[in-house]
Amino acid sequence: MKKDMKILIVDDFSTMRRIIKNLLRDLGFTNTTDADDGNTALPMLQSGKFDFLVTDWNMPGMSGIDLLKAVRADPNLAHLPVLMVTAEQKREQIVEAAQAGVNGYIVKPFTAITLKEKIDKIFERIDAN
């Protein structure tokens, strides 16, 4: 896991985007960009060589789960690590995200420690493979 990896943060609430951006900066990740929903995010991902995607679920336009599915369906993006950070906490939805190929799932409200743990775990697995 490189500290200068390019990260895209997707959430419809700008406060949450700023919080995640700041937390990532505290963890040493400074190369972050953000988008307010899947429709905005997908073209950015397709043209932008991102290394990591952090997305909310419930957003107007394209939701996070649809963005995840679109990412997995795109041969150029299929292996992009995706962390979902959402207030959705129904079992059914967590299972759906897992089946769609999410790499990590964080429920809001969350702590800086949780974010660090999940990111570490995601990249440990990736680096191990």
Binding site: T15, I19, Q89, E92
Partner: protein
Amino acid sequence: MTDNVEVDQDSLDLAKKFVEQLEQGNQQEADNLLTELTNLRETELFQELGKLTREFHEAINGFNSDDRMSAIAQDDIPDARERLKYVIEKTDEAAHKTLNAIEEVTPIVETIESQVSQLGVEWERFLKKEMNPQEFRDLSQKIKEYFFSTEENLKIIKTNVNDILMAQDFQDITGQIIKRVITLVGEVEKNLVNLVKLGGGVPTSESEDVTISKKVKTSTPGELEGPQIPGMESDEAVSSQNDVDELLSSLGF
């Protein structure tokens, strides 16, 4: 409206005859005509009253039989009340977290400020060679202490700044909750408008509006629930990050 014109014509005819009979001194005939005139008026009144009663009855029936409306009254409004209370709690909590952090940081910043200005004055004296060796040893000791204490103070400031940052997560949660309540208020408004239309006896496209609104709340699989409210969590929801982790690890994560 055309009904009224006819009735008026009838009344007018009767009234003319009534005056005629009175002028001719036929009291008995005049009394009969007066009774007839009164009856005509009463019939009309009863018909109107009957119509009004029926419309009112229909309006009430329509109101009762609308499942969505009773669901709103029984579940959604109390639910929205709890959600809004939670919004107050979250915003209150965030404001206090932020204020606590500021109250902890402010005196530290003031301490650093005064230490820096004091050391600056003494450093200036040193540069002007106004300091004897003992004074310089004291200054050197003070600078060392300043570095040590500032390092600790900066850690405290950083922790508090981070607390202020995390306190802002209320906006996302409360925003989602308020959006849901706004949707509900819109739905209630639409249903009330329908009720008013029914009560007013104005022909209405009520049935189609109500069907649409019924569909809004029908719980379909995959429907997003948004933030869980303490004390009213859904059975299908997990309650913590640990539960999420357990569920995911049971799926082979």
